[in-house]
């Protein structure tokens, strides 16, 4: 069986064709321009993940919010729960780009980090 999908690992968006056998085991991946496409096809067929990006509230900073993201892609099923945890945060300025805001969110092994700096007011 062939499954068609679009690689979302980068904005080029290669069209991939994944060949699967009856048990769902991947036999081949075609259409990718780089090896990340291969990895993408494998995780997308087994355990799909996405990088989460959102914002968190800041106390005493020059801006009311700081953008945050998952340091690595999270399992798709954990995205909404993670946003709820992030929305409950109130982080004191100053914040530096890359600061860990939630370590190992929902036991996923992935940290939530600040994706910009926010100096004190």
């Amino acid at each position: 069986m062939n499954k068609e999908m679009v690689c979302v690992a980068c904005p080029i968006g290669c069209s991939l064709v994944v060949e699967l056998d009856k048990a769902g085991t991947i036999l081949s991946v075609a259409g990718n321009q780089c090896k990340r496409g291969n990895e993408y096809a494998i995780t997308e067929c087994t355990a799909p993940t996405r990088t989460l990006t959102t914002t968190a509230k800041v106390l005493g900073g020059i801006t009311p919010l700081v953008p945050v993201r998952s340091a690595k892609p999270l399992p798709k099923g954990l995205l909404i729960e993670s946003v709820k945890l992030i929305n409950a945060l109130k982080i004191k300025a100053p914040i530096k780009i890359g600061d860990v805001l939630i370590a190992n969110v929902l036991d996923s092994g992935v940290d939530i980090i600040a994706s910009n700096s926010c100096p004190k007011m």
Partner: protein, 417 residues
């Protein structure tokens, strides 16, 4: 009057990359003028990831990508004036700008890089009937409300236009708890990147309705709903397909327009298709010593390409300032048979460099072939598994080949299936 070798107008990724490259090429007197409070341009509000995969080999968010360049601008001690708006540029390259501290300032420049970016097409250019209710805004405005100011502009959302900003905002508002009912696209294909359709719409079960548009707007003070309809091949609404959709917010993501008021006012020739200046391979406009790069030149979907293009402009400006420019003998470029435009629009055949031609197609193609031709002779051809209007393509012409082209001839880019 202040004096600088190079004045860069706009401190987004384009302006910063051009300034850094000019510095690296040996220009020391450089200033960047930026009307916002900080450098970074539109990237500051693009908190999603997808930036830098080609340039840095890493997937960064917008602010992270900008931060790398802001850091380099500081390290290289390039002068910056923020909160400073450029009002005009004279024919002899004097830049007039204004800010709160200094009032009106004049800066004489040997060379200028235009890097003002683009803005979103507003409602006025759309011609939708109906009331002027609150709750109708561009997707980029909503992006600023949600990501910078921290407030959700609505709860029930319809998005008109499937440009990338609209798609990104569909996901963003869903994550913040709004109900995004649908994305409508007038054309039979999406204007955004496929990856955004997958991870912003399909992941959240948001329907994308192609060949559909908004024909009426309801609500007095606040938007209450819209009437949508299918359109025929000539983009006219089809009778009997009207449907009412209740919503309190309508986001418009119907395209970007390069910000070229300054360029046009100084007499620079504008390409009617790109909306940006006509440039040579070094990104010099038709006005000597004035260069353009980034979204002000043509709308880019990937910031990585903005950076690369801006480095070309920065080097071009440096060569001009240091009097290293080759004597110019031009050939022009042109897109036909499905190729909407080609940048650069002209190439100096003496430039001694391989030149990448960037272009966009007007519809989607599968298994297409791209041809580069001169005087009805094929110079080269490349196969592409797919081409889409939302994705910029490129093809490279070697300097050896360029040098042999007849003066004033035309380089044609076309697609064939």
């Amino acid at each position: 009057m202040l004096n600088y070798d190079l004045v860069v107008v706009g401190g987004g990724p384009a302006g910063m990359a051009a300034a850094l490259k000019a510095k690296e090429c040996g220009v020391n007197s450089i200033i960047i003028l930026e009307r916002a409070e900080t450098l970074g341009g539109i990237l500051e509000q693009c908190i999603h990831t997808g930036f830098g995969l080609h340039y840095f080999n890493e997937e960064l968010s917008g602010p992270e990508y900008a931060y790398r360049f802001i850091d380099l601008v500081e390290q290289n001690e390039i002068e910056v004036k923020t909160d400073t708006m450029v009002l005009g540029i004279s024919a002899d390259n004097v830049v007039t700008a204004t800010n709160n501290q200094e009032g009106i300032i004049s800066i004489a420049a040997k060379a200028i890089v235009l890097a003002m970016g683009c803005r979103e097409r507003p409602r006025g250019s759309l011609n939708i009937a109906g009331t002027r209710a609150a709750g109708i805004m561009t997707a980029g405005t909503a992006q600023k409300y949600v990501n910078i100011d921290g407030y959700l502009p609505g709860k029930k959302v319809v998005i008109l236009g499937s440009g990338d900003i609209g798609l990104i905002m569909a996901r963003r508002m869903t994550l913040e708890g709004a109900e995004v009912k649908m994305v409508l696209e007038l054309m039979p294909y999406s204007g955004g990147l496929t990856r955004n359709i997958v991870q912003c719409l399909e992941d959240y079960n948001i329907p994308l309705k192609l060949s559909c548009t908004v024909i009426d707007i309801h609500g007095r003070e606040r938007l209450e709903g819209v009437t949508i309809a299918k359109v025929d091949r000539n983009r006219r609404p089809i009778k009997g397909t009207e449907e009412y959709v209740a919503c309190d917010t309508l986001l418009l993501s119907v395209g970007l327009i390069p910000e070229n008021e300054l360029s046009a006012a100084m007499g620079i020739e504008i390409d009617p298709v790109t909306g940006g200046p006509i440039v040579g391979e070094n990104r010099e406009t038709t006005h000597k010593g004035v260069f353009a790069c980034g979204n002000v030149l043509h709308v880019h979907d990937l910031v990585d390409y903005v950076t690369i293009e801006s480095q070309i402009a920065g080097e071009g400006a440096a060569n001009y300032i240091l009097a290293l420019e080759e004597e110019a003998i031009y050939v022009t470029t042109k897109g036909i048979d499905g190729v909407r435009y080609v940048v650069p629009q002209r190439i100096n055949i003496n430039s001694d460099k391989d030149v990448k031609l960037y272009f966009r197609v007007g519809q989607t193609y599968k298994n297409a072939k791209i041809f580069l031709e001169n005087n009805e002779e094929i110079i080269l051809s490349r196969r592409r598994p797919k081409l889409a209007p939302g994705e910029m393509e490129d093809i490279t012409i070697k300097s050896e080949v360029l040098r042999e082209l007849p003066v004033n001839s035309e380089l044609i880019v076309r697609v064939e299936v």
